[in-house]
């Protein structure tokens, strides 16, 4: 499809490009799409992803120059389509997909620093991960933890139930739990069990998204959804302007991230809130 983009446009529509937005139904996905449509200079067509219209969407993609996939399910549905796919709010992007944000990798360091500032006594952080995120952990979590002198108690697990059992065994020996966005491991039950440990054992839960904080986790760093939409529009503009897909794949996009803190959890954990405020944290 990149070739398609390189060829000269034949008409007005060809000149402006054909853009399709594919997203699931839901507030945060709609927020990103709306922001994208507001910033995108071409009129984008939006298709809601449902359980039974994946084939229709894949047919629609054939006559499209750029597809914006919002969310992990949209990316998974477009897996293998012959089009240039730009993804936003994706935790496990397939190869060849231009990701709008760099993902939670760079944010782990900020998360551990915020933990250290809020709870300086915490030096041992537990972590479970799966096969998909093993490299991710080694690349984005282990180095900053080492630098911050935080001992990581990490264990690879096979699935959600294994993660629960591991967390149950791990809980007595750690002082905080760091969650990774492994889709095979981080099931709602695991998150629910982790929240239980936070209550029972006062183990701070370091989440991945602001919505996890909203559900009860102590804190998390992530990008603002509207910023993601705007960044997606920028990437689409670049593609429509002739920037090659490879070039965009090699240069990760820079999207600002924000710290979100659960206020009542922080008070129950007796966390030091002043440093968090200095970090421009948003309190839920």
């Amino acid at each position: 499809m990149a070739g398609g983009l390189a060829s000269a446009p034949t008409g007005a529509e060809e000149a402006s490009g054909r853009v399709l937005v594919v997203r699931p139904d839901g507030g945060i996905y709609a927020q990103i799409a709306e922001e994208f449509e507001a910033d995108c200079r071409v009129r984008a067509q939006t298709k809601l992803l449902k359980e039974d219209n994946a084939a229709d969407i894949r047919r629609a993609v054939r006559s499209t120059d750029v597809v914006l996939a919002v969310g992990q399910r949209a990316v998974d549905a477009l897996r293998g389509v012959p089009a240039t796919v730009v993804a936003a709010l994706v935790f496990s992007p397939p190869p060849g997909v231009i990701q709008v944000d760099p993902g939670p990798g760079p944010s782990y360091e900020l998360t551990l620093e915020a933990l250290q500032r809020a709870l300086p006594d915490v030096t041992r952080v537990g972590l479970v991960y799966g096969r998909e995120t093993e490299e991710h952990v080694q690349r984005f979590i282990v180095p900053p933890a080492r630098r911050l002198k935080i001992e990581l108690v990490k264990e690879r697990v096979s699935d959600g139930p294994d993660a629960v059992r591991t967390l149950r065994r791990m809980a007595p020996y750690v002082e905080a739990l760091l969650l990774v966005p492994d889709l095979e491991v981080m099931t709602p039950q695991v998150f629910q069990y982790a929240l239980g440990l936070q209550i029972q054992r006062a183990l701070p839960i370091l989440g991945v998204t602001r919505h996890q904080v909203k559900s009860g986790a102590f804190l998390a760093y992530d990008a603002d959804p509207r910023a993601l939409g705007r960044q997606a529009a920028e990437v689409v503009h670049q593609l429509l302007d002739g920037v090659s897909k490879v070039e965009l794949l090699d240069s990760p996009q820079a999207v600002p991230v924000e710290l979100t803190v659960k206020g009542d959890v922080a008070r129950r954990l007796k966390a030091n809130l002043a440093p968090l405020r200095n970090l421009q944290a948003r309190f839920e």
Partner: protein, 774 residues
């Protein structure tokens, strides 16, 4: 009015029943051994007992149901709580987490066992406090729970606990969606295990026993309250009843001034008030009854006197009737005038008629009795003459005799409608005989007649009418009897004269016939001698003349023979000689003898007798009957056929039937042909000859033989005469036959005649002696 409670002489209420019983016992009344108060007490106690038992039963039943419902509800709560707490543990399949999740449930006193199974049904945890029973999970329940996240909990009753199952359900959704926004994306329920709880029954059973105990306490409490209420109510209710009972007993004993003192404002008080009113009314009624009884006794005495007078009057009127038969009682009914008895009592002399005999005696006695019974100073009886044709006018006149004295004339209608018509001094009572007005009774009084006197007069009028009617009827009957006797005497005298005349006629007829026969025989004999040429040859004219003489003589002889036969029959002495007779041969002989009669006919009589018929009878008589029938048949059948049949019918009765195709007989004439000297038409005699005696003699002979002679005929078609002979002949005796019907026949006694003996015939000269032809 004396209240019971204020009368010191009366027993107290506590003594009242005993008092009443003693009084009742003294009057042989049934014994009342039960007390009203006791009965009320027992009734209310029984009601309380029933109420307590019912309440306790309902209480126990409802509480038992509540215990069961509570146990089920608690089991559901425990099971749901366990399934909810153990969702993560079951999801992880972690025994420690399951232990933790089930600890609270297992700590419950009535929970004997807790188990958690994973999504494949494999046991993760089982903890039990039951030592005696560790049943394996029910496979069917496990399949049902694992296969349906919405399955309802299941209860399987065991001996000592309820085995409860519920699915452990968790929510499954996309992990990415869950991370970015929990509320979006699809959500589904998934079974991750099964929670099982064993709920012990012991505690529930203890609760049931406790409920039963409380039910017993409740029943006893209600019963005690009921007994207390029964004692209280029975005492309160029975007191006024006892007072009423005592009051009623006193009233029955004659104390009608007794009153009860019940002050309550309810129905009992109303009953007491009604009782007092009833007692007062009873006293008034008793007084009124006594007065009425006195009046009734006086009325009964007065009515008795009236009835006695009426009975005496009736007996008086009946007296003459019992004397019927006396010649002195026959009234004279030939005056045709108004008959007035007691005329001396009337102020006018217009009623001058006078009865006589028994009627006069009757009316005289009736007048005296009427004056005495009605307490009148004068009386009159007016009777209407039965032969009068101006009835209404004469009644008015009759009444007017007295009515002029009273200034008013009652009409006939008034007399017919009213039972009695009277004013202040006069009483007029009509006399009815059946539906007719026969007269009236006049009574003169000094004052208005009382009702009983009017009733007496009315009754007397009806009795008097009957008596007068009886006397008149009796007189009429006597008159009729006398007239009948006189007529009977005259009729007897006339009958004797007729019988004597008839006897003389029969004797004359028999003697005359016999005297005629003798010279006729002589004439026939000499005529035959002349015809045979004994006295010289004859010219043809002489021969024809002789032939005519011979035929006329024969006819005359036949007539005389018939008259003789008839005379024999009528004289009453016919001798029958029964013998064995073969009818076919008899009839054949008759036909042979009758053959000359048919010599000028185009036919000969035929015999139809397929078999001989033999019976015992008088053969000559039968032969004479058949000869008559055959002769008639040939005589009245100029051409055609004459047939004689002999045989027996289905009943074995012999018959001889003579059938011809002659002139026939009209139906109206068939009943007279058997009468003497009768032929159907006088012209027959002129045409066919004959005396008209043949069939009469045949019928008489048939009757002598006990046979039946009948005829069937149609005019112009022919006739059939049938003689039916009896199987057995009547007894061989001389029979008496009635004389020929004549004037006076049937009214006098039957007479028998001596057989007429014919006079001797003078002998012929030997040279010319020859029997005459039949």
């Amino acid at each position: 009015m004396k209240p019971i409670s204020s009368d010191n002489s009366l027993p107290t209420l506590d003594e009242a029943p005993r008092f009443a019983l003693s009084r009742v016992d003294s009057e042989q009344a049934p014994r009342f051994t039960r007390r009203f108060r006791t009965r009320i007490f027992f009734y209310i106690t029984a009601l309380s007992l029933a109420t307590s038992l019912t309440s306790a039963g309902i209480f126990t039943w409802r509480q038992t149901i509540h215990i069961d419902l509570d146990r089920d509800r608690r089991a559901k709560t425990l099971l749901t709580g366990l399934a909810t707490h153990a969702d993560i543990a079951a999801y992880a399949g972690d025994q420690a987490l399951c232990e933790l999740a089930s600890r609270t449930t297992l700590d419950e006193e009535d929970v004997g066992m807790v188990a958690i199974y994973d999504r494949r049904g494999k046991e993760i945890l089982e903890r039990s406090k039951i030592n005696s029973e560790h049943p394996a999970p029910d496979p069917q329940a496990m399949r049902l729970m694992l296969g349906n996240p919405d399955a309802a909990p299941i209860k399987i009753p065991r001996a000592t606990f309820h085995d409860l199952y519920a699915p452990i359900v968790t929510f499954v959704r996309d992990p990415a969606d869950a991370m970015v926004e929990p509320g979006i994306g699809s959500l589904r329920r998934e079974v991750v295990g099964v929670a099982r709880v064993g709920l012990l029954l012991e505690q529930g059973q203890r609760q049931v026993i406790e409920v039963i105990l409380w039910g017993v306490y409740l029943a006893m409490g209600i019963l005690l309250l009921g007994v207390f209420a029964a004692a209280l109510i029975s005492r309160k209710v029975s007191r006024p009843v006892a007072e009423l009972t005592l009051g009623a007993d006193l009233i029955r004993a004659g104390r009608l001034d007794t009153r009860v003192n019940i002050q309550s404002k309810d129905e009992i008080g109303q009953l007491g008030y009604a009782f007092n009113r009833m007692a007062a009314r009873l006293a008034e009624t008793m007084a009124a009854l006594e007065a009425l009884n006195r009046d009734l006794e006086a009325e009964v005495a007065r009515r008795t006197l009236t009835i006695q007078r009426a009975a005496a009057f009736t007996a008086l009127l009946n007296a003459p009737v019992r004397q019927r038969g006396s010649s002195a009682m026959a009234p004279r009914m030939d005056t045709g005038e108004w008959t007035v008895m007691g005329g001396k009592m009337l102020p006018t002399a217009h009623a001058s008629g006078r009865a006589s005999g028994a009627l006069a005696q009757l009316l005289d006695k009736a007048l005296r009795a009427l004056m005495e019974g009605s307490e009148s100073r004068a009386a009159a009886i007016l009777l209407v003459d039965e032969e009068s044709v101006e009835f209404a006018l004469e009644v008015s006149w009759c009444v007017g005799v007295v009515a002029r004295e009273i200034g008013q004339i009652p009409t006939e209608d008034e007399l017919s409608r009213e039972a009695a018509w009277y004013d202040s001094r006069r009483l007029v009572v009509p006399l009815h005989m059946g539906d007719e007005l026969a007269g009236c009774i006049l009574l003169f009084r000094d004052s208005l007649p009382p009702t009983d006197r009017v009733q007496f007069a009315t009754h007397a009028a009806s009795q008097l009418a009957i008596a007068v009617s009886n006397v008149l009827a009796y007189a009429h009957q006597i008159h009729l009897a006398r007239e009948l006797r006189e007529r009977n005497v005259a009729l007897a005298k006339q009958r004797d004269q007729l019988e004597e005349m008839n006897r003389l006629k029969s004797e004359f007829l028999a003697n005359t016939s016999h005297e005629l026969r003798t010279p006729l025989n002589a004439i026939m004999g000499y005529s035959e001698l002349i015809a045979d040429g004994v006295y010289g040859p004859l010219t043809p004219e002489q021969q024809d003349a002789l032939t005519g003489i011979e035929e006329s003589t024969r006819n005359l002889l036949t007539l005389i023979d018939n008259i003789l036969d008839l005379a024999k029959v009528e004289s009453g002495k016919i001798t029958l000689h029964h013998d064995e007779v073969e009818l076919r041969e008899l009839v054949r002989g008759v036909l042979t003898e009758a053959a000359p009669l048919a010599k000028h006919r185009p036919y000969q009589p035929e015999l139809d007798a397929p078999r001989p018929v033999t019976l015992r009878t008088d053969g000559p008589k039968v032969k004479q009957i058949v000869t008559n029938l055959v002769s008639n048949a040939i005589k009245f059948t100029p051409e055609g056929q004459v047939q004689v049949a002999v045989g027996q019918d289905a009943g074995g009765q012999a018959f001889i039937r003579v059938r011809d195709t002659g002139i026939g007989i009209r139906p109206e004439d068939q009943r007279i042909i058997f009468e003497e000297f009768r032929q159907v038409d006088g012209s027959y005699t002129r045409t066919y000859g004959g005396t008209g005696l043949g069939l009469a003699i045949a019928r008489r002979f048939a009757e002598l033989l006990g046979a039946e002679l009948s005829v069937e005929s149609a005019l112009g078609v022919g006739s059939t005469f049938t003689l039916r002979l009896p199987k057995e002949p009547p007894a061989p005796t001389t029979r008496e036959v009635p004389i020929i019907a004549g004037p006076g026949a049937g009214t006098g006694p039957r007479q028998t005649r001596r057989p007429i003996t014919p006079p001797p015939v003078p002998p012929l000269p030997p040279s010319v002696r020859k029997p005459p032809r039949p």
